[in-house]
C-alpha cells in the first residue's frame, strides 16, 4: 500500500502544482498550495510506514503547523490586498509587473 | 464485524430512535414546567394525547409532507448537501462513545464501544469541526442575506468554541493519561476518600467516619473548572440557547436554515436535537464516570454476584447495569442542558465571542498548568 500511496501523493502533488501555476484566483492558488502540502504529508506518512519510523510523522505535524501559519498569513495578505484593490485575480493585481 | 454492526445499531437506535423523539417532547414539557404552563398536548390519535407524547410523530409527519423549496439563485447541490453535512457528524460521533465497559465472556472480550480508537476524544473534536461546514454551506447556498450572516456567525462561534473546548479538558487527559474514551470511563470506575490526602499531608489519622466520605473518582470532581468550561463550550458548539445568536429569531429571522423547509430543515433540526444526547454522552463519559456505577466498581459487582451465580452471568448483569447507568446519566445530562437552555437568556453575539476568547480560553490554559503543577506536587508528595 505504501507504493500506491506514494503514487497517489505524486498525482495530488502534480494536480496542486498545476493549480498553483495555472489558476489565477489567489484563493484557489493558495488552496492548490495546501493540496501540495497535503501530498507531501501523504508521502511522508507512507514513507514513515515504510521505514517504521515515526520521524516522518513528526515532520507531518510540523507541516500541519506551517500550513496553518501560512494560511493565516496568506489570507491576511489577500484581505489587505483586496481592501485596496478589490480583486482576487492575480493578473489584475499587477501594479508591479511580473 | 457482526459485533460491530450490532453495537452500532444499538447505540444509533437508542440515541437516534429512542432518545431523540423523547427529547423533542421533553424540551416542550420541561419548558412548560419551568414556565408553569402545560405545554404541548394537542396532538392526538383518535382522542388519545398521552401527555403530548404524540407530538414527535406529528413533527416527523409534518416535515415529510412539507414542500421542498429551493430559493432562486441558490446553489442547488450545496443546498441539498448542507443538511446532510450537518447531521452526519452528530451521528458519527456516537462511534467512539463507550456505552458500556469491557466484559469478558469465556475467552471473548466484549467492548461496548463501536470504535475503541487511540485518539477517541480528538475524533470528537475533528468531527465537530466538520459540522461547521453544514452551517457554512447552508448559508452560502441559500442566496439570502440572513442565511449568510447567520452561517458566518454560526461558523465563527463554532470554531471559536471548538478551540476552547479542546483546551478546557486537557486537564482531564493529564489525569486520565489517555485520549481513549473507554479508558477514560474505566479510569473513573472507582472512588476516592475525599479527605485522604489531607490525612496524608498532615500525617494525622482522621476520625474514621471522615474516612468514609468518599466521592466517585469522576472527572467532574477532579476538574470542576474544566467541567464548567467544557459544558459552556459544548453547549455553545451546539448553538442552542443561550448560545443561539447565529439563528437568533429576533435579529436574523432563523439564521442559516432560513431558506430550508420540509425534511431538509428537518435534518438541521434533527442534528441540533441529536447533539443534545450526544453531548450528554460525551459529558457523561468525560466527567461522570461513563457507564460506571458510583461506589460499585466492576470487580465488586462481578465478584459479588459472581459468587452466587457464576462469572458469566455476573458479567452479563454488570453489562446491563452499566448500560442502564450510562443511559441514566445521559438522561440527567440532557435534563441539565434543558434546564440551562430554559433558564438563561440569550447572549449577545459579542458576549458569546468575548466569553470564549477572553474568559474561557485564558481560564482553560491556566487550568492546564495549574493541574499540571498540582499533579506534580501530588506525585512528589506521594513519592
Amino acid at each position: 500500500m505504501v507504493g500506491e500511496a506514494v503514487v497517489l501523493s505524486a498525482i495530488l502533488f502534480a494536480i496542486g502544482t498545476v493549480g498553483a501555476l495555472v489558476r489565477r484566483n489567489v484563493i484557489v492558488v493558495l488552496m492548490s498550495i495546501e493540496l501540495m502540502l497535503n501530498a507531501v504529508n501523504l508521502a511522508l506518512v507512507a514513507f514513515s510506514r515504510q521505514w517504521a519510523d515515526p520521524a516522518g510523522q513528526v515532520l507531518v505535524l510540523m507541516v500541519i503547523v506551517v500550513a496553518a501559519a501560512e494560511v493565516a498569513v496568506g489570507l491576511g495578505i489577500v484581505i489587505s490586498l483586496f481592501r485596496n484593490r478589490e480583486t482576487l485575480n492575480l493578473e489584475e493585481a499587477s501594479l508591479l509587473k511580473w | 464485524m457482526l459485533e460491530i454492526v450490532l453495537k452500532m445499531l444499538f447505540i444509533v437506535l437508542v440515541i437516534l430512535g429512542g432518545m431523540l423523539p423523547l427529547i423533542t417532547w421533553v424540551e416542550r414539557k420541561q419548558s412548560a414546567v419551568m414556565q408553569d404552563r402545560i405545554g404541548a398536548n394537542r396532538a392526538d390519535l383518535m382522542g388519545v394525547t398521552v401527555l403530548g407524547l404524540l407530538h414527535p410523530v406529528a413533527d416527523v409527519l409534518k416535515l415529510f409532507s412539507k414542500e421542498d423549496v429551493v430559493p432562486t439563485g441558490a446553489n442547488r447541490t450545496l443546498h441539498l448537501l448542507a443538511p446532510v453535512v450537518a447531521i452526519v457528524p452528530a451521528i458519527v460521533t456516537l462511534a467512539v462513545i463507550p456505552f458500556g465497559g469491557s466484559y469478558t465472556f469465556g475467552g471473548a472480550t466484549l467492548n461496548l464501544v463501536v470504535a475503541d480508537v487511540d485518539w477517541g476524544i480528538v475524533f470528537v473534536f475533528a468531527v465537530g469541526g466538520i459540522a461547521t461546514y453544514g452551517a457554512v454551506m447552508a448559508g452560502w447556498a441559500s442566496n439570502n442575506n440572513w442565511s449568510l450572516l447567520g452561517s458566518m456567525r454560526a461558523a465563527a462561534q463554532m470554531v471559536s468554541y471548538e478551540v476552547t473546548m479542546g483546551f478546557s479538558i486537557v486537564g482531564l487527559f493529564m489525569i486520565y493519561e489517555t485520549l481513549q474514551l473507554p479508558a477514560m470511563a474505566a479510569w473513573q470506575d472507582d472512588s476516592f476518600r475525599l479527605l485522604g490526602f489531607i490525612e496524608y499531608l498532615l500525617d494525622i489519622p482522621l476520625p474514621a467516619f471522615l474516612g468514609w466520605i468518599r466521592l466517585p473518582l469522576w472527572g467532574v470532581f477532579l476538574q470542576p473548572l474544566g467541567f464548567v468550561l467544557f459544558l459552556v463550550c459544548i453547549m455553545a458548539e451546539n448553538k442552542r440557547p443561550p448560545f443561539d445568536a447565529p439563528e437568533g429569531e429576533s435579529e436574523l429571522v432563523a439564521g442559516y436554515h432560513l431558506e430550508y423547509s420540509g425534511m431538509r430543515f428537518g435534518l438541521f433540526y434533527t442534528a441540533e436535537f441529536l447533539e443534545v444526547p450526544v453531548i450528554g454522552c460525551i459529558l457523561t463519559t468525560l466527567f461522570f464516570g461513563g457507564w460506571s456505577i458510583p461506589f460499585l466498581p466492576q470487580e465488586t459487582i462481578v465478584g459479588f454476584i459472581g459468587a452466587g451465580f457464576g462469572e458469566g452471568f455476573a458479567t452479563g448483569v454488570c453489562l446491563v447495569l452499566h448500560v442502564l447507568s450510562f443511559l441514566m446519566k445521559v438522561a440527567l445530562m440532557i435534563w441539565l442542558q434543558m434546564a440551562l437552555r430554559w433558564t438563561l437568556p440569550r447572549f449577545r453575539y459579542d458576549q458569546v465571542m468575548d466569553l470564549c476568547w477572553k474568559i474561557i480560553l485564558p481560564l482553560s490554559i491556566a487550568n492546564v498548568f495549574v493541574t499540571g503543577a498540582i499533579i506534580l506536587w501530588i506525585e512528589t508528595v506521594m513519592a
Partner: protein, 165 residues
C-alpha cells in the same frame, strides 16, 4: 478489504483535488471539494497506520484550515474568477496537459515496487509513540513551532486589522 477502502479514498482524494483545481466558477465549491479530498486523505493515513496524523488531518486541515479558506471566500464574496472564457479554455487545456505530464513524469520516476514495509513496533502511529518522539527528540521543533504560530498571529493582525492606529 483494506485495499478497496484505500482505492475508494484515493478516488475521492483525486476527484476532490481535480474538482478544486478545475472549478473556475465557484470558489466555495472548490474549497468544499478540497475538504472532501482532505477528509479522505485522513482515511488513507489511518490505513497507513498513522492514526493520530489521520485524525489531526481531519481536525486541522479539514476542520480548521479549510474553514478559514471558506471564511475568506465568503468574506470577500467573489463568486467568479473574472476571467475571460477563451483564456479559461486555453488555461484549462494547458493545465490538464501540464498536470498529466507532471504526474506521469513524477510517477514514472518512482520506483516500480517498494520493498516490503518494515514490521511496525507496538503502538506505532498512536499519540504515545508520536508524542514521545515530539517531546523528547524533536522538542526543538515543537518549541520553534510556537514561534511560528506567534509570528503568524501577529502578522495576520497587522495585515487584516482595519484601522492603522
Amino acid at each position: 478489504m483494506n485495499e478497496w477502502i484505500f482505492y475508494a479514498f484515493s478516488a475521492v482524494a483525486v476527484a476532490g483535488a481535480l474538482g478544486m483545481v478545475s472549478n473556475v466558477r465557484n470558489t466555495v465549491a472548490a474549497a468544499l471539494s478540497l475538504v472532501a479530498s482532505m477528509v479522505s486523505l485522513g482515511g488513507i493515513y489511518v490505513l497507513l497506520e498513522a492514526y493520530l496524523i489521520g485524525v489531526l488531518q481531519i481536525l486541522v486541515y479539514a476542520g480548521a484550515i479549510m474553514v478559514v479558506f471558506l471564511f475568506v471566500v465568503m468574506l470577500l464574496n467573489q463568486r467568479k474568477d473574472g476571467f475571460s472564457a477563451g483564456r479559461q479554455w486555453v488555461m484549462k487545456t494547458f493545465g490538464a496537459v501540464l498536470g498529466v505530464a507532471g504526474a506521469v513524469g513524477l510517477v514514472g520516476l518512482l520506483p516500480a515496487r517498494f520493498p516490503e514495509a518494515a514490521a511496525l513496533p507496538e503502538g506505532f502511529g498512536g499519540y504515545r509513540a508520536l508524542g514521545v518522539m515530539l517531546f523528547t527528540d524533536y522538542v526543538l521543533a515543537f518549541e520553534v513551532s510556537s514561534l511560528l504560530l506567534l509570528s503568524a498571529m501577529v502578522g495576520a493582525v497587522i495585515l487584516a486589522r482595519r484601522s492603522a492606529d
